[in-house]
Structures are given as C-alpha cells and as structure tokens.
Symmetry: C2
Subunit: 257 residues, 2 copies
C-alpha cells in the first residue's frame, strides 16, 4: 500500500521547498522542475546515471536562477524537491506527461504500466501538496490585500531531438500576456535572443501552473524558459538573473504606471 | 483562485466523514457515494431538484446500510460528505467519470468545460483527502499488526436507461475474488438475487477504491451493490444489513479456516 507518509523516507522529507517565505515583494516564484532527485522508493526508474542527471530529470540551473531572483525581488520561492520524472508538477494528472513513459528520446521503464494506486500515490505526495501550497500562499496574500505576480522559472536543453535551438530566453504566456508583452517589448535590441512562446507555448500544455494560480484571478504572470547552456555555473546564473531582474522589473513598473 | 481552504464554507466542514474510528473489527467500510450534498460554491450545477436528489447525485440508502454494518462488524466507516456529481471518489482524476458531464440521461451543466484550476480544486478538496484518509487508516492498522478487509458499499437504481434490473445484490470484485467468491457461494439459494459483477464490474471502472487500497497489499476486499428500491426506509435497510452481515460474516469465517 502506498500512502503519502510512506512515500518519502524520513531523511527525504516532503515534496515542497519554500524559501524566503516572509518576503515582502509582489513576485511569487515557482520552480516545478528544480530537482533531479528521485525518491528512494523508486530507485533509478530503470534509467542510467546519465539520463538521471540530464534535462529529462530536471531543469538544470533553473533553481539557482530562481534563488537569485528571489533575493533581487524579495520574492517567495516555491519549488518541487523531487524530479519531474516521478511527477511533473507542471502537468495535471490526466496528462500523459504527468508521469511520463517517455521523455524526449528516453524511455522511462519505472513509469510503464503504472497501477491506479501508484498514480494516486504520486498525485497525492507530489502534485497536490505542491499546488495546494502555492494556492495557500496566494490566498493568504490576497487576504492581506497584497498583489501577487506569478512567475515560473524553467530551463530548456539547447539540443532537442538533434536540433539546436537559437532562442536563449523564452517568455511564455497563456491567455493573459500583459507581463510577457511588456517583457518582450523591453527585450528589443537586447544582447540575448528573447522570443515569445519559444521553444514551447501554451499549446504544449506548459502553462498548467499559470492556469491554476494566475488566470482564474487575473494575476499578472509569466513563464520564463532559459536555455540551460547559459546557466551552467554561478557566474552565468548571476548574469542571467541580472538580465531577467532588469527586464521583469522594468516590465512590472511599466504596467504599474 | 480556488484552494481547498476556500472550497467549503465553514459550516460545510471538510470532505471526509469518519464513524466508529476506534473500531476493533477487521472490516473497513468505505462509502464513496454517501451524500447528495453539493458544496454551496457550486450552486445546483445547473440541475433540477429532482436530479439533485436522484441516484445521479448519490447512492440512496448506501450510507444508512453502511452505518448498520459498521455497528454489526465493529467496523470503521469512511464516507464522502459531498456528491459524486462534484467529484466521484470511486474514479481517478484521469477518468471522464470523475467530474462527469453526463450521468445516465442527465447532462451536468456545472461540469461542462471545467478549467484546469477547477479540476485541480475538486481533486485536491474531495478526492485526494478521501483516499489519503483511507490509506492512513489502513497503514496505521498494518503497523499495529491488524488485518484489514476493505468493503465498499454502494446502491444502484432499479431502472437504468429505461430497463429494469433483476439483480438485487451485486457482489463485485477485481482481480482478487476471494471474499466475493465466498460470499457468492454462501448466497446460493438465498431469498435475494445475488449476482457476481452485476450490474457493474471492474471493466466499468468501478473498482478504483479496491485497486487503490486492497489489491496492492493483497487485503481481502469486496464491493457491494444494493438495488436502492430495497433500502428505502429503516426497516428495509436493517433487513438488508442483516442479510449482508450474515453473508459476509460467514464468508470471512470460511476464509479464516
């Protein structure tokens, strides 16, 4: 039998990581693919160490950049402490990508033929508490009369299905493009290639977190995708965080006006 | 924004009902369709009072019979306090029946075109806490070295899609038929028409609770379906509970031997 209390070892703790909980800024950072950690009970999911440390398991560099942005914006950061290979918190349970049997070119044997009990255990232990926590934070701030700006931080692989991607920063949005529009306007002439809904867009199902937490109440929101070869070390991460801080800061100011 | 804490009014409380929590018996009773109550925030789901009190909204009589069995077996009873029209706790989130747009012949307008946020709110508020609670009870008993027998109690309408059903008691099972077999053997020659996997069976997706809580650990289990015209008042409910108590009691004894 699989229950939430048996899902993680005592040392592993729980699914949701929170940093800067008492932050005063409007921005709420969310990082669904922060970690490559597989809970011990799942072993390796039948994967090689190479795959388990690759972009299939997590968004390399995304959490590091999110932490820097958390400081710069005085923003609370909510992140998932376990790999999206077990449950991808940017997907609803009914999506085949939530507990994927394939990621890019890699089969995920540990996700083949999951029973209803196994699916429930992952949904209950990883997905629901993550989004419950984000919801609770937003609700508490709304109750205090605060604004909330929902910003999700992701990274993407420069080579996907054998093709190199030229885009360096993706500014993604769903039906509410206010913040994305302002950021894209601000990025004109920038040193980095900043594109709209590239390399993914809402049609790929990647705006689930925005749909859950920003769209229903009309909160400003954006999803940021960073090409992961640009954030491989602390220096690079600081440079990209600085770029995004300026871009988003100006965009938020322009919307306030 | 929709969060669990805003899902119910204070007076409504929470999703899961528990009775006889300190029971000493092995049987654990589960009643997923115990209630026709719609949380206030959903209004009427666009339905008439007639539909809202019909078998589409709940299993009439099932909770009453489950309560009588809870006494007779000294069994803990876990039941859902809200209607399956909002979330059917005997279905996983990926099932179209979990938040049905149609029930038998009735359209459910309040379930049309649900957003991802609306689906998440129902999954988080109604489905996950229900099965988490069942799991926790089972885990605690297993930790104490106790046996657990999972028994779900349902009722069905005598007339479905215009056809009358002759079966009076359905004994339903999934891949583990031990308890169902013993009950069906004991029902031979009974005054009631007792059938196997009738009017539903595992191919209809109705054994979700058994799959979640009994099959993974090999716990004895059965799903009982009672034709609801046989349990319309206290006298009838007592008679059926007595019949089921004897049938299941003998079956459990025969398996123990």
């Amino acid at each position: 039998m699989t229950v939430r209390s048996r899902f993680f070892t005592e040392a592993e703790g729980q699914a949701v990581g929170i940093e800067n909980a008492a932050a005063k800024g409007d921005v709420l950072l969310v990082c669904e693919h922060a970690s490559a950690t597989i809970p011990q009970k799942f072993g390796t999911l039948g994967l090689s160490p190479e795959v388990l440390s690759s972009h299939a398991a997590w968004d390399p560099g995304a959490l590091a950049v999110a932490r820097l942005l958390s400081e710069k914006f005085d923003a609370t950061l909510v992140y998932q402490r376990f790999s999206r290979l077990v449950y991808d918190c940017n997907r609803p349970p009914e999506s085949p990508s939530a507990m994927p049997v394939k990621s890019e070119i890699y089969d995920i044997p540990g996700n083949f033929d999951l029973s209803e009990a196994e699916r429930f255990a992952r949904t209950s232990a990883l997905y629901v508490p993550f989004h419950d926590r984000v919801s609770e934070i937003i609700a508490a701030r709304q109750a205090d009369g605060r604004n909330v700006v929902v910003v999700t931080i992701h990274s993407f692989t420069p080579v996907y299905h054998g093709r190199f991607r030229k885009v360096e920063i993706g500014i993604l949005h769903d039906t509410d493009s206010r913040l994305a529009d302002a950021m894209l306007a601000g990025a004109e002439g920038a040193s980095l290639t900043v594109n709209r809904n590239d390399p993914y867009g809402p049609e790929d199902g990647v705006t689930h977190t925005l749909r859950l937490h920003a769209l229903p109440d009309g909160l400003l929101n954006v999803m940021i995708e960073i090409r992961n070869d640009l954030i491989t070390n602390e220096g690079e991460q600081a440079a990209i965080a600085g770029f995004l801080h300026e871009l988003m800061g100006k965009a938020l100011s322009s919307i306030d006006e």
